[in-house]
């Protein structure tokens, strides 16, 4: 269990349903480690500004995490966390290792249009 304020995905069913129910979704798959915690915190702060995006986390070591770990786009990833952006259930961007707020928001702006507050 990850100690974050994000919604946790713990089963394949939860993951599938979340991707079906949300046009724009971000899943951050990691552990409670020093490279992952900063990314969870950034996503937590973005939730209110990006109400058109659903943010989730997922423990890297659970069975359901293979849905992320096995993605072809993650095949060369060797750094936690794996952060995957989905639109209509399809992967539109994936990044590995620690990221800062600017890098994350650039992807959100490019893949999920502008921030709600800027519309």
């Amino acid at each position: 269990m990850l100690l974050t304020k994000l919604l946790h995905l713990e089963t394949n069913e939860e993951t599938e349903n979340s991707l079906k129910e949300n046009e724009n979704a971000v899943i951050c798959c990691g552990r409670m480690g020093p490279m992952c915690i900063p990314v969870y915190q950034i996503l937590e702060t973005l939730e209110s500004d990006y109400s058109h995006v659903a943010f989730f986390d997922m423990d890297f070591d659970i069975e359901a995490a293979w849905a992320i770990r096995d993605l072809p786009v993650c095949a060369t990833f060797m750094g936690l966390p794996f952060t995957v952006n989905y639109k209509h259930g399809k992967v539109v961007a994936a990044i590995t290792s620690i990221q800062n707020k600017k890098q994350i928001t650039e992807i959100l702006a490019n893949k999920f249009s502008q921030k709600e507050s800027n519309r």
Partner: protein, 317 residues
């Protein structure tokens, strides 16, 4: 006092900042701490801490930070998220300062404690940015398991570097420590552990010039500084721990720093500007340890309390 007006503003959410927060709030000063999730405490980026007094065994970095935060909140510390862009003097007579964050939030205070620490340096060589998370890493504990039975290089000769090299021996078949000098700076205890570990080898007097690889790291170019020669070294991963740079951009035009931006203070954490104090890793000529940062934070808060009392003419002498 309106919502955005404080007596003290602490910039930085690390051990120095929270320790200052505990002492400032217990001194009944209206105190705000501004922390940024883009400038995280080094403590947050530390997995296990074994040398912080009072915690036999160890404690995780984020647990210690959570404890500090909880303790400071209990005494009334206000905490806001924000990246401080600059501070400015708004009234020299009343000696009041304004702190402005990147998202244009503005707060005022009579005194500032700068405790924003330092961030890990990148090597700044070709290939580093492109291959981050694909063999280039800054955390062995996080990414070590991806390098099972692989060869890795660890760059740096300080405490962090050797700690991480030792951790990597759990997974990697070979750990090569690349250091620009011919001896380590790490504490003796760690050095002894590293020298007696069969999996660790040392590449002395050398620096990494370039990291190469198509999808993942395949090779690094090493320059031997004594021989002035460059050689290829095949490896699957590069872990970089080459020191720190201070998070002091917002305050550099106001207080005196050394040539590389570390803030110069006296023993009571006074900077050269009245009312601005500095504590923790961002200070020039200091030991950068959690315990010293805590001590700095406490000292800064006590000095700050004295400064505000003096300003109000009710100093206890």
């Amino acid at each position: 006092m309106s919502d955005n007006n404080y007596e003290v503003i602490i910039i930085g959410g690390g051990p120095a900042g929270y320790s200052a927060g505990i002492y400032a709030t217990r001194a009944m000063l209206k105190t705000l701490l501004i922390e940024s999730c883009t400038v995280l405490s080094q403590l947050m980026l530390t997995d296990l801490i074994e040398n912080y007094p009072g915690f036999p065994g160890n404690i995780k970095g984020y647990e210690l930070i959570e404890n500090l935060k909880k303790q400071a909140r209990y005494f009334g510390l206000e905490i806001k998220e924000g990246f401080v862009e600059y501070i400015e003097c708004i009234n020299a007579t009343d000696r009041k300062w304004r702190v402005v964050t990147q998202n244009k939030a503005s707060y005022t205070a009579y005194s500032i404690i700068a405790a924003s620490g330092a961030k890990a340096k990148m090597l700044g060589v070709k290939g580093e940015k492109e291959l981050r998370g694909k063999g280039v890493s800054y955390c062995a504990v996080c990414d070590g398991a991806f390098f099972r039975n692989k060869t890795v290089a660890v760059v740096g000769g300080g405490d962090t570097s050797i700690q991480e090299a030792l951790f990597l021996t759990r997974y990697a078949s070979k750990v090569n420590v690349v250091h620009r000098r011919n001896r380590l700076r790490a504490e003796q205890f760690l050095q002894e552990q590293a020298f007696k570990n069969d999996k660790i080898e040392f590449i002395w007097d050398s620096i990494v010039q370039e990291i190469e690889g198509t999808d993942t790291v395949e090779n690094i170019k090493l320059k031997n500084l004594k021989k002035d020669s460059v050689t290829d070294f095949n490896c699957d991963g590069v872990f970089i721990f080459v020191g720190f740079t201070p998070n002091t951009e917002y305050v550099r035009r106001i207080v005196k720093t050394d040539d590389t931006g570390w803030i110069i203070t006296d023993g009571k954490m006074n900077t050269n500007v009245s009312g601005i104090f500095a504590a923790g890793d961002l200070r020039s000529n200091t030991y950068r340890q959690i315990a010293t940062a805590v001590g700095d934070g406490v000292t800064a808060a006590l000095s700050c309390e004295k400064y505000i009392s003096r300003m109000r003419g009710n100093e206890y002498v």
